[in-house]
């Protein structure tokens, strides 16, 4: 155990980086981008070092730092991670450099009649967001968690609102208000916890470890649970709290979409595991059937809606909602396998969907359109792009050999003994996932070139394409596997550039690596998951879920 405050550094480094980037003089603006990359890589390094310093068999919370912050409220600036939080920090560490790379040529929305706006703010907000995301997972004080949880909204709000698509204002405000409402409801519960701790311990506290010891009256527990649950269900998002995500995910710039779906939404499922289950075990058990219904409805409903989407980013957003249903199923089944699967799913979904968003962003950058019906026949012209797109899609539908398969499988086998009906229904979601992924891949990458892509090469760069798309090729789907030879005069579509290869390769490598060798990740999260599940089951008289020995468990 070293004394280096890794977590504090991981919060401070990007925050300072954000301040430096924001303060760059206009003449040195070109430095913002490389600086952002350097800072994000440094955070990745710190995350790896923190993982090395973390002892899998050690205490539940490690790398702890605690400083009294607001003594009047009993608030400490307390940081610490368990395996679950650490895996999320690693995910952040990996995704942010990828996002920086993927946004390298991001340009702000055009302003009629004026020069281009500075991108400095984009990089500064991105780094600030990274700092706050680390904070939200590393906080072990509920108040501090809440502060990060709410503060995180501000950079994302500006990323969407300043740099997003045509409907960005609406999406940004909707995102902010939904999350804020959830956050405020949670605040009521946070204060409620404090009041309970004040009456039971004689001194109000927000420290997670102390709050976990409380014996809360079941009625009160239910109310407090609901406060946290609503906030996390909006964040995750579970159906029916999900309507902000398709808008935000679609309108956000690609980099922000990746972080939004890859990391920010994980705060919701992370919150279920860290706060809802251990703090309110009775309420969690009582209300689990309802949550599971929401989860399964989410899996099926979001998958069905995804199939009907024509907008690629919207489609990916809906697939995420379906995946969050799986994660919630895994968490609220209360078995170690299922919960381990859910945690793995959180990491894997971040990687797989992150890659899918990045690749979709690359396709959009080439065509200038988010509509599936504006594309076609890309595979023949950009085979590498098509290959990565396919891999991301397959990872997203949990094909064996990809990382998501491991997690989805664990969730399903773990949930089945406890909740067979829910599990069977959720399994149907896999079939639907195959539909939405493969249909999108087929329409975008194969078949005849359509829309802007079918225009003669002489056309200048993308932009507005008023030309109506060709009628959708009805019925001919089966034959589209063979790419129609592109007519000689259609536009050239460049394949992946070296930068783009560099951006996607870490995620591709992780998808394959975690697909065949997930053991290190499983070892990292299992102790924390077991502790969480035993928190739920530990209450006497409760319906103790079976904590079976799992085939994946290893003692060291």
């Amino acid at each position: 155990m070293t004394d280096v405050p890794w977590l504090l550094l991981m919060i401070a480094v990007p925050a300072v980086g954000a301040a430096v980037v924001a303060g760059l003089p206009a003449a040195r603006e070109a430095l913002a981008r490389p600086l952002a990359l350097a800072v994000s890589l440094l955070v990745l390094l710190l995350a790896v070092l923190a993982t090395v310093a973390f002892d899998t068999g050690g205490d539940r919370f490690q790398l702890t730092t605690a400083v009294a912050w607001i003594p009047d409220f009993g608030v400490d600036f307390a940081l610490g991670v368990d395996g679950i939080a650490l895996s999320m920090l690693l995910l952040i560490g990996v995704l942010v450099p990828v996002v920086v790379g993927a946004s390298w040529h991001e340009t702000p929305p055009p302003r009629p009649g004026r020069g281009p706006r500075s991108m400095r703010a984009f990089w500064a907000w991105l780094l600030l967001l990274e700092s706050l995301m680390v904070g939200v997972f590393a906080a072990t004080d509920v108040f501090l968690f809440y502060v990060f949880f709410e503060a995180m909204l501000v950079p994302m709000y500006f990323l969407i609102g300043s740099f997003g698509g045509e409907n960005r204002q609406y999406a940004a405000v909707k995102f902010f208000l939904y999350s804020l409402l959830g956050g405020l409801v949670m605040l009521a519960s946070v204060i409620g916890l404090y009041v309970v701790s004040n009456s039971q311990l004689g001194e109000g506290t927000f420290a997670f470890d102390a709050l976990r010891q409380l014996e809360i009256d079941p009625g009160v527990q239910k109310l407090l649970f609901l406060g946290f649950f609503v906030a996390f269900a909006i964040k995750a998002p579970l159906v029916p709290f999900h309507t902000w995500l398709p808008d935000a995910g679609t309108q956000a710039p690609i980099g922000a979409s990746v972080l939004l779906v890859g990391v920010l939404d994980k705060v919701g499922t992370f919150g279920f595991l860290r706060y809802c289950l251990p703090l309110f075990p009775d309420a969690a058990r009582d209300l689990a059937p309802w949550v599971l219904v929401l989860a399964v409805v989410g899996v099926l409903y979001a998958a069905l809606v995804a199939i009907g989407q024509d907008d690629m980013k919207r489609l990916v957003s809906y697939t995420s909602i379906a995946h969050f249903g799986f994660i919630a199923l895994g968490i609220f089944a209360f078995t170690t396998e299922a919960a381990t699967g859910a945690v793995l799913y959180m990491v894997n979904h971040g990687i797989a969907t992150g890659l899918l968003f990045v690749v979709v962003g690359m396709v959009i950058a080439r065509s200038g359109s988010r509509r599936i019906s504006d594309h076609g026949g890309l595979a023949a012209r950009a085979p590498l792009l098509a290959g990565v797109f396919l891999l991301a899609g397959l990872a997203s539908l949990a094909l064996p050999g990809t990382n998501s398969f491991v997690s989805e499988f664990l969730v399903l086998i773990g949930s089945f003994p406890e909740r067979p009906v829910h599990t069977v229904l959720a399994t149907l979601g896999i079939v639907l996932a195959a539909l939405y992924v493969l249909l999108m891949y087929q329409r975008v990458m194969h078949g005849p070139a359509r829309g802007v892509l079918a225009e003669p090469d002489a056309e200048p760069d993308a932009g507005a394409a008023p030309e109506p798309a060709d009628p959708p090729h009805g019925g001919g789907g089966a034959t589209a596997v063979l790419a129609a030879p592109a007519p000689a005069r259609t536009r050239r579509v460049p394949d992946l550039s070296r930068r783009e290869v560099a951006v996607v390769s870490p995620l591709v490598a992780l998808i394959l690596l975690l697909g065949v060798y997930p053991q290190p990740l499983i070892d990292l999260v299992t102790p924390a998951v077991e502790a969480t599940i035993s928190d739920v089951g530990a209450d006497p008289g409760g319906n103790t879920p079976q904590v079976g020995v799992t085939p994946i468990e290893e003692d060291d």
Binding site: P71, F73, L177, L184
Partner: protein, 514 residues
């Protein structure tokens, strides 16, 4: 007759009041005798000396707990903390008044208030650099009244303080140089409704006197214990509360607020929004906890209902506003409701965290709202300040600093963590939940979310919209406004990130004597 015995006065404990009233009196003399050319700087210096001196005096007096002036004034932690707050807000407001760089005619105040608006003479004067410097002694008097208000231990003194603080404000509301009719209308409206409120207060005073035989708060307290459910007493209390809630712009006694906030010169609006609210809540706290602290059941349901009404009215009506000043007025109404949440959280007999929470909230809100109004003075078009929301579109591109600071103040008003607004809200909500008023806290949280929408809308306009081709310009502020904005912005951040020491101070000052 033996003649009236002079009451025992502790001059040291009254130092803050003496400073401010002294400055006001000297200001009047300067107005009468000093030549016009030097009046402005001299008046500003005197008013600032008064306010800053009062602030220093409150710091030196910290820890004092005494009742003086024959029992009419209570100098205790609450009084000193709030007097200090009012003095700081007052000093900053005086700086806003003294701004000379923004208006082409060098002042936001009218040259000669008595000239009818729209007359030939008025048009001549509208570009004259002359300025009505009476505003400084008026402000000092108002400041003195406010500080007296928070220390009044006697309903009669409270009434006198109410009038001393109100009358100058009525006048100051009518002194705008631009859009004078709107300003004068605001002044008349404020005066008429304010007079009604004073009458309510006075009637309540009379009833309470009738019920208890005393106007001294401590005597009322003793009587309330004995007589409890006396109808006269309860009725009197209700009327007193109406009078005070009017000043604090709590719905449903808020109808004057948007009109007056919009019509008054913005610097005066800032002063009213920040300092008057502190003073009014100071009096509310003292009345409810010193005089009626043992008869909580009489006012608790009333305050509960007022808090909910005010939060809902402020948040919902704020949504429909298209003028920045009116929007901030509704925000002020909503915040009055949040403050009442803290008042509810005081618990039986002044114990519990509600008192300190309310005091902290007052300080945080006062500074934030002062800063926000200060920024409103900077955004100008041809005919004065550009307060219509549509004129703020794309402000971030014209002036990133102003937009960023306004964004900060708005986020603080919305209660986003790491700003003072969040710390304050957290403190009052905690206090309310701790005393079992969690339904009230839930309403407060929901209305916070509703209110966030209209704060966000301004941020959206400033950052995500394209500026109108003939949009307003952002004036380059002189030193005074720069100081105000810098101080309030720094305070908004510090009270959000490291509020510990100020919370401690509020906690240790949360003592009422009487």
């Amino acid at each position: 007759m033996d003649g009236v015995a002079a009451p025992d006065l502790s001059f040291a404990a009254l130092a803050p009041l003496l400073f401010v009233f002294g400055a006001a009196a000297v200001g009047v003399l300067v107005e009468a005798f000093a030549p016009r050319a030097v009046r402005h700087p001299v008046q500003v210096a005197i008013a600032l000396t008064g306010a800053v001196g009062a602030f220093v005096a409150t710091l030196l007096l910290a820890g004092t707990r005494e009742v003086t002036a024959g029992g009419a004034l209570a100098v205790d932690g609450v009084a000193l903390f709030l007097q200090g707050t009012i003095a700081v807000l007052g000093a900053l407001s005086v700086l806003l008044f003294s701004e000379r760089a923004l208006d082409p005619a060098r002042s936001a105040f009218v040259a000669v208030a008595s000239v009818p608006a729209g007359s030939v003479r008025d048009r001549e004067l509208s570009t004259d650099e002359r300025v009505q410097t009476e505003v400084y002694p008026l402000a000092s008097f108002a400041l003195g009244g406010m500080m007296l208000f928070t220390a009044a231990n006697d309903l009669l003194v409270m009434f006198v303080a109410l009038e001393v603080l109100s009358l100058p404000l009525y006048l100051m509301s009518g002194l705008a140089r631009r859009r004078r009719l709107l300003s004068q209308e605001a002044a008349v409206k404020y005066f008429l409704l304010g007079a009604f409120a004073s009458a309510f207060f006075l009637y309540g005073l009379a009833l309470v006197y009738g019920a208890t035989g005393s106007v001294r708060l401590s005597a009322i307290r003793d009587a309330a214990v004995v007589e409890g459910g006396d109808t006269l007493l309860v009725l009197g209390l209700g009327l007193l509360v109406v009078g005070l809630m009017f000043k604090a712009s709590v719905a449903p006694f808020h109808t004057w607020t948007p009109d007056v906030y919009q019509g008054a010169p913005t610097a005066v609006t800032a002063f009213m929004a920040a300092a008057t609210k502190v003073a009014a809540f100071g009096a509310v706290l003292r009345l409810l906890y010193v005089a009626f602290g043992t008869a909580e059941w009489t006012w608790r349901p009333l305050v509960y209902a007022l808090a909910i009404t005010s939060m809902v009215v402020g948040a919902v009506l704020g949504l429909t506003q298209t003028d920045v000043k009116r929007m901030l007025a509704y925000s002020s109404i909503a915040h009055a409701g949040f403050l009442l949440t803290g008042v509810i959280g005081l618990g039986a007999d002044g114990s519990g965290p509600g008192l300190a929470a309310t005091m902290f909230y007052l300080l945080a809100y006062g500074l934030t709202t002062l800063g926000a109004f200060g920024l409103v003075t900077l955004v100008r078009s041809g005919e004065g300040e550009a307060t219509h929301l549509s004129q703020w579109a794309g402000l971030a591109q014209r002036s990133p600093v102003v937009a960023a600071l306004m964004g900060l103040f708005l986020l603080a008003l919305a209660g986003i963590p790491l700003t003072s607004g969040f710390t304050g809200k957290f403190a009052v909500f905690r206090a309310a939940i701790e005393t079992g008023a969690w339904p009230l806290a839930v309403v407060a949280l929901v209305t916070s979310a509703i209110a966030a929408f209209f704060y966000l809308r301004v941020i959206v306009l400033m950052y995500f919209s394209e500026p109108a081709p003939e949009g307003p310009t952002v004036g380059v502020p002189g030193l005074p406004t720069t100081i105000v904005v810098a101080v309030t912005a720094a305070a908004t951040l510090v009270l959000g990130v490291l509020p510990g020491s100020v919370l401690d101070l509020a906690d240790s000052a949360a003592v009422l004597v009487g």
